[in-house]
Symmetry: C3
Subunit: 417 residues, 3 copies
């Protein structure tokens, strides 16, 4: 894969049509993405409740690279690559708690703030200050901890923080805990996974349960003027009734190289449902600023790989983690109020819709990936109902072209990774 | 792999000796073969009985690419790549029956003749006529359905049809059904699998059962003038007795870029055996034009990847399907008369010889592949008893060289795939 | 991987620091190592007791390539690549005994001295003398059988033989048999496996059992002047008491392109232990020249991939076998006197220390390999306690550079393999 041939592929892309096959299957394009695309993205790595006290640490994957996030006490949350600066061993295998990070190989130990603690055995002439853990850029949006790889080229998350932090607080995420987390590893390129996530045109044939449980599918899954008018009235009535203009505002920031992409919007679940449980009725204690059920759903996008759907009594975080050119992890985490008694929550009822829908998505995305691998695959046209997917693809093509031009030859770029 | 280095390897080949290691293990040579070799081959994909009525469809692999073959009624059998023209999803997962081919992802539906049926959601400016299914070239030789990939460069099967169609009819394949089908995935390059198939020199050490059950091994497994003379007399006597000159004729067409390779010949099983069952006695009702058992075996080669052995009461089809540089599927299908009662057939007795022999072949071919991977492998000489294998290898070298010259640089060729 | 970029990587190496990531993970560098590094190394393949009589044969891996070693009677031990000179099949699948080596595919048979025996079927013009088995260079050091690949470029083992042969005889290896053999396949580059083997800095955190059972760890696992002085006195006292200067001498030959690397040294186990058993007490009959327990341990290095630790009553051989860029087999073999009754030996007690230690090593080396794969891995400094590891790495860099310069472009070199 030379820069020229990648440019050629990008130039061949036709607006409104899906990408050429190579973008979904070529390991060399994935390597370029690792070097210049993933490294410039913020992604939600954890919720503060996962690191409850000084010395708590967790092991997570940042776009396929193992990192450690620690609660360092006064110095706040910090993130480090999970690699010892001595001989390169993995330092932590699992989440835990300890006053120092100690490599199991030769017992080199590091402070929670990253400095090498045990300098006794160092050879002469080696400066211990240069052997601290490699820090990973970390920012918080409320109680969500985001990390990114390329410190010098990450977009500014300030406006996302300003807009999303109040929404998260209103939804009680500052006083929340994890009820359950599930992983849905999907054998497909990360772009196919996101393309699927960004459209509901497939909801009618592929997600019968989701289709029955969401009022918005009347407009997002089919072109039907009558149904659209009807749903528009439902939304207007709901807004008038709820009246909470500050928290119901819609903000969409497309994102640039300099500013982090994010989205906030709110709408009713519809169909007389209070929350997104199996039967639509309350499934957990009310969270945050809610005094009663208003039947609303708040959607939040944090950058390009993390998304949340928040209801009155729980919230679901989706993290998309590319692991290889045709391997993507989808991790869903359900949050409830920190004081909720988990024993009293019907987990099956709470997780049903997203669990069943994400399993169905895994299957249809994998079928999609299989077809895309075929010698007969050609780019196809996105319909009106896939506008957000088409936007995602256009933005991918635009940003990739800009990054390639900014960075010069790909060969050079690859050394960054 | 540049064209030059592939040319160099072909030039180094010595007539009568096996190929250089790279041809058996190099994924780049396999990629060239996918681009210019497999795509120009007809291969048997199905028997008409697998698609009994309008709307029947089956999912098969054409040299590793998933295709759908349908019975479209008046328009006959048709084949399509198993890829939706919308976003590229796999359309069918398994054999079935339906009046339309409906993609499970967004419910795009296609007529049995390939046209897009559901055009309602199409974006403006997109011509539905351009979104029909990608058709796969299909031809029939009697009841056998053959497909090939590269419509413009497939050899003409007309003469094969003219010669083999009567033989198939005589053997009752026009009024046959599948009794059993078995798959023998083999971890070896497809050329090693075919090289093994084309010689019986290994039959004595490697196939004790086959050796005991076939009269011809006296000449095909050893050099022995007395035995050869004896076997010659057996054949002559049999021909005189059977006397059916029309169906006993031998036709061998080596194949060119323009004409499909095929073979037809007939000889006695020998050893007093009526058919190729466990004990040599009748195992199923007589098929086609046979009024009684004549103890003969008809061999038919359809192109370079499909072969049939037909007896008086059953026939066995072999399909060789390359799946990767060192992965080849061997599929064997036993046919009997359409009216036969399968409950009354002793399947073990009918399948014994080819089942046991193909399992042994799988093992010896895999041992061969392991040795060929060694740093010590060097091409070795084919003996007289491996003449057909040597011919196969010479023809491979000749055709590959011609294709490379016709096509210019390999890099250009690869885009075809 | 061009020669230039490999030279660049070698030039970037800083003395006293671990290698750049590519050396541990890049399959192209492993391919270069296969071509020019492994092929120039002698490695211990077997002990004479594994081939007790004429016709005995064993199947082993020589740096990933299958070879057959035979006892050919008067012509001694001989080694051949496990590849038939006819069509390249694997000849032997397992250890056995037979007067001829017979390929299972077409029954070509070879004498124990390699010549093709069955020439009857050969095509005209083919000289059977050119179809003998490909011989593998073989040398013996006492009862140990060593093989190497590149006959013209193997270093001379004469001095190693002269020094190590008496030590092996003194330890009774000439009259020994295998008590037990175990394999520890390790998912890591062979250099990480050897780097770990060459230092005991990790013994304190990673090997509690080894740490408790070896007096030398006082100096090899920590920098502690008092402990070092104390251990020095233990060694001096032991030497004075044992007094066996001839067998207690230390010889270290670094190895050149022309001469095989080897090491011999002897020291006390310490801690009052007689032998390296679970409780330090005798576990098997005394071997070789020992009349009573002297509590000593003899270390022998045969080239770069085979090592032995010999005690009074048993010896342990370690063979390191690279199988892929991140896959290395570690095979440990325990020897006892040929006349020992295996039923009477407490195998668990005898194998405990090395078994538990090698399992721990497998785990820490695999953790090391995982970290080295990270985008955050950077070479780190070796401490004083890792001097032998650092020497290994420096010698690797030096020799690789010399080999590359001697051999010219890598592309050319790769054809050798």
């Amino acid at each position: 894969m030379t820069t020229n041939s990648l440019h050629g592929l990008l130039d061949r892309h036709e607006k409104g049509w899906s990408l050429e096959q190579s973008f979904y299957v070529d390991p060399e394009i994935f390597a370029v993405e690792q070097a210049i695309w993933f490294s410039r993205q913020w992604t939600v790595i954890a919720h503060a409740s996962e690191l409850p006290r000084k010395g708590s640490h967790i092991v997570r994957s940042l776009f396929g690279t193992s990192i450690i996030v620690v609660n360092s006490g006064d110095a706040g949350f910090r993130a480090y690559y999970n690699v010892c600066t001595h001989r390169g061993s993995r330092i932590c295998k699992e989440d835990g708690h300890s006053p120092l990070l100690v490599c199991p190989y030769h017992a080199w130990s590091f402070r929670l703030t990253g400095e090498l603690q045990s300098t006794r055995d160092l050879p002469a002439g080696v400066d211990p200050a240069e052997l601290g853990l490699h820090e990973v850029p970390l920012r918080q949006i409320g109680s969500l901890i985001l990390c990114g790889a390329d410190a010098e080229n990450l977009p500014d998350p300030a406006r996302a923080e300003e807009v999303l932090q109040p929404a998260l607080r209103h939804h009680g995420l500052d006083h929340a805990k994890i009820a359950v987390r599930r992983s849905y590893p999907t054998q497909a390129n990360w772009k196919l996974v996101l393309e699927n996530f960004f459209e509901c045109y497939h909801c009618r044939p592929s997600h019968p349960e989701y289709f029955r449980m969401n009022g918005h599918v009347k407009v997002s899954a089919m072109l039907d003027d009558n149904a659209a008018q009807e749903w528009g009235k439902v939304v207007d009535d709901w807004r008038a009734e709820v009246g909470d203009d500050q928290h119901n505002r819609t903000v969409r920031v497309a994102g640039t190289h300099d500013e982090m992409k994010f989205t906030l919007y709110r709408h009713p679940i519809g169909l007389g449902r209070q929350t997104q449980s199996k039967d639509g009725r309350a499934v957990a204690p009310l969270m945050g600023g809610f005094a009663n059920y208003d039947g609303g759903e708040t959607a939040m996008h944090f950058g390009r790989f993390s998304f949340m759907g928040a209801y009155n009594d729980h919230a679901v975080l989706f993290q998309f983690i590319p692991r290889g050119v045709e391997e993507t992890d989808v991790v869903a985490t359900w949050f409830v109020d920190a004081d909720a008694d988990l024993e009293l929550i019907d987990m099956d009822a709470m997780t049903l819709m997203w669990d069943i829908t994400t399993k169905q998505d895994k299957q249809i995305i994998e079928e999609n990936a299989q077809g895309v691998r075929s010698r007969a695959y050609r780019p196809g046209p996105y319909t009106q109902l896939e506008a957000q997917t088409s936007d995602f693809v256009e933005s991918y093509v635009t940003v990739m072209r800009e990054l390639l031009e900014a960075k010069g030859p790909v060969a050079k770029v690859e050394q960054v990774a």
